[in-house]
């Protein structure tokens, strides 16, 4: 399982403020369906990964404990994959997106550390994604995120994201958003 390296030091207050603002902006862009602007926050070498969670005994762990890099994943995406998902949302024939899904993305428990690679930060957070569709459908997904942000000429970009939900069975039919 992912755990923080003890050697990492916290970022300065200024950088922390910047990182928190980045995560909040990202959440708002998703809530407002501004997917192209959201893609603008993503680095071209992104690895956007949400592994499937497997319910295993402690003495029988997978490579990463309750998930495995070589097993099935909800997202295991490059920038091209993310762009394809956005392209579907944008089709007039995306029947299941019309009427729109209403989203709230909530981010908290933010911690930020200076990473070993130059110009990068390790950023940990928790999230809640609330979606409603139709008259009465409501889906809540929550979890932890382990991000790597990188400072580029055009500002901070998301270089890596690991999304871990606690659920071995997803309690809804799909994830028609980003987390």
């Amino acid at each position: 399982m992912f755990t923080k390296s003890a050697a990492l030091e916290s970022v300065s207050q200024d950088v922390f403020f910047e990182v928190a603002a980045f995560l909040n902006k990202e959440a708002r862009l998703l809530d407002e369906e501004r997917f192209e602007e959201w893609l603008g926050l993503i680095h071209e070498d992104i690895h956007y990964w949400m592994p499937g969670i497997e319910n295993r005994r402690r003495e029988n762990p997978l490579k990463q404990g309750f998930y495995d890099k070589d097993h099935m994943a909800y997202f295991d995406d490059s920038l091209r994959d993310l762009q394809r998902r956005v392209a579907r949302f944008r089709q007039p024939s995306a029947w299941a997106e019309n009427p729109a899904t209403r989203n709230v993305h909530h981010v908290s428990n933010v911690e930020a550390f200076v990473a070993q690679a130059p110009n990068t930060y390790e950023v940990y957070s928790t999230f809640t994604s609330i979606r409603s569709r139709g008259l009465d459908e409501e889906y809540v997904i929550y979890g932890r995120r382990y991000d790597t942000l990188i400072r580029t000429e055009s500002g901070l970009k998301l270089l890596k994201r690991l999304i871990l939900i606690p659920n071995a069975t997803l309690s809804c039919k799909n994830i028609n958003t980003f987390l």
Partner: protein
């Protein structure tokens, strides 16, 4: 043999089935997707009797390797034995019924109940308990209180099936000529197939039949429902199925496989040219192994359901079971299947591609879920539930003259397989015993 499972007494058939399911007339009614009374009959007369998919052999490599799953709503453990065979047990302790295995997969020397410490070996034998001395004082016979074993387990080309019913036909008889078509995906290369790892579970508020029927023979929905995904993945619409020169719907005992002969239509939607090339590369060897005809099926526009709830898509290589969880809820278990002999890079592309297209985050599946849920939910209306639903396409398309095995129908834009699926469902709900299930198969058992 007291560890063999007790079978159910069969309750009386429902008296209104003809009103909600008349396939000669080409109609069903939404009530079959919403009725609790019908669902309870299904658990007993379908899920407690039919052969159900429980595992792929690649998940159970060594002695003691196990997975847990469900047969209907019954929880089971599937475990590899010392002699190489596979046993399937109820995942319930014979003392107070507590679950004995809480993990979805792993490798073990046995199972121990958390409640009173009843301990079982991988063959299901009770081998000990906490405070075992007090059982001896009560003349307890350990040999009679092992894990309850299902009636029969059998495999076909790596696919492991089990049934609770000792009276059920053999797996071979149950699958019949569908095996000839299963080979197109599950035996197209030396070494067969394997699952790549893991199982993704998600929840739909839909009836299990609407999903199973979608895969048994409904390619018609793809061009409309999945237009957005096709445009996202390919930059254009999906292949126009009505343009294919040759395509078929084949069924047997409620199972169904609909397919074109375009070789790569399904794999193409993954948007990975290397996968298309892999299919073209292996095609000559498939033709040698299975003949030209089936070499055109290996990743073509096609889908299949083995009755009642095991489905797959050749090419996308998604394999799934629609686990019933009440009349209007399912848990979808999905896996990714690949040829064992495929290069690692190709397997990896399928692992990602199957999920990118058909999974809870898959761009294709997004639009299915919405449809299936509302096909189910509208039947909450008592009036709506009684209205006829049309399932009459291709009534006169049965092919008398064909060399293909099974009940063969002309064209895959056809509801022949859907009718056959619901007919078998109807026949099982109406039958007290297997001998009362009418044989409606009229095609060949073997290919000519």
């Amino acid at each position: 043999m007291s560890n063999i499972i007790k079978t159910l007494d069969v309750t009386e058939r429902l008296d209104n089935l003809k009103q909600v399911c008349d396939l000669d007339e080409g109609r069903i009614a939404g009530e079959i997707f919403y009725s609790q009374a019908i669902y309870e009959q299904e658990l007993e007369k379908i899920f407690a009797r039919c052969w159900l998919f429980v595992a792929h052999e690649s998940q159970l490599v060594k002695t003691g390797d196990y997975i847990t799953t469900t047969m209907g709503e019954d929880e089971v453990i599937v475990v590899r034995q010392k002699d190489g065979s596979i046993k399937v047990f109820l995942n319930a302790c014979p003392h107070r019924g507590n679950k004995v295995c809480f993990s979805e997969s792993g490798s073990t020397r046995g199972f121990i109940c958390n409640y009173h410490g009843w301990s079982f070996d991988t063959a299901g034998n009770l081998v000990g308990q906490h405070e075992s001395g007090i059982y001896e004082a009560s003349d307890f016979d350990k040999s009679k209180w092992g894990l309850r074993e299902v009636a029969k387990v059998d495999t076909y080309k790596g696919l492991v099936f089990a049934t609770f019913d000792p009276e059920s036909p053999s797996l071979q008889e149950y699958l019949g000529p569908m095996t000839w078509y299963l080979d197109a995906l599950f035996d197209n290369q030396e070494g067969g197939t394997e699952f790549v790892g893991g199982c993704i579970r998600s929840t739909y508020e839909c009836n299990w039949k609407i999903a199973a029927e979608n895969f048994v023979g409904d390619i018609l929905h793809a061009g409309w429902t999945h237009d957005s995904a096709a445009r996202a993945m390919l930059g254009g619409s999906v292949a126009k199925v009505s343009d294919f020169d040759e395509s078929y719907s084949v069924n047997w005992n409620g199972h169904g496989y609909e397919f074109a002969l375009d070789t790569v239509g399904n794999v193409a939607v993954l948007g990975e040219s290397k996968l298309n090339r892999y299919i073209h590369t292996i095609k000559p060897s498939v033709a040698e192994r299975l003949g030209d005809f089936r070499s055109n099926m290996i990743a073509s526009v096609s889908s299949c359901t083995i009755f009642p709830n095991f489905s797959f898509l050749p090419g996308q290589n998604t394999v799934r079971v629609w686990q019933p969880r009440g009349p209007n809820k399912i848990e979808l278990f999905t896996w990714v299947v690949v040829n064992k002999s495929a290069p690692d890079e190709i397997k990896e592309m399928w692992r990602k591609g199957a999920m990118m297209t058909f999974s809870p985050t898959g761009v294709f599946e997004m639009d299915d879920g919405e449809n299936w849920e509302y096909c189910t939910k509208t039947a909450k209306g008592r009036v709506t539930a009684k209205q006829d639903l049309y399932v009459g396409l291709g009534m006169d398309t049965f092919m008398e003259e064909t060399r293909l095995p099974g009940n063969v129908y002309q064209g895959q834009l056809n509801e022949a397989n859907s009718r056959a699926f619901y007919q078998y469902w109807y026949d099982l709900l109406s039958a007290h015993t297997w001998s009362e299930v009418p044989n409606r198969n009229k095609g060949k058992v073997e290919a000519e």
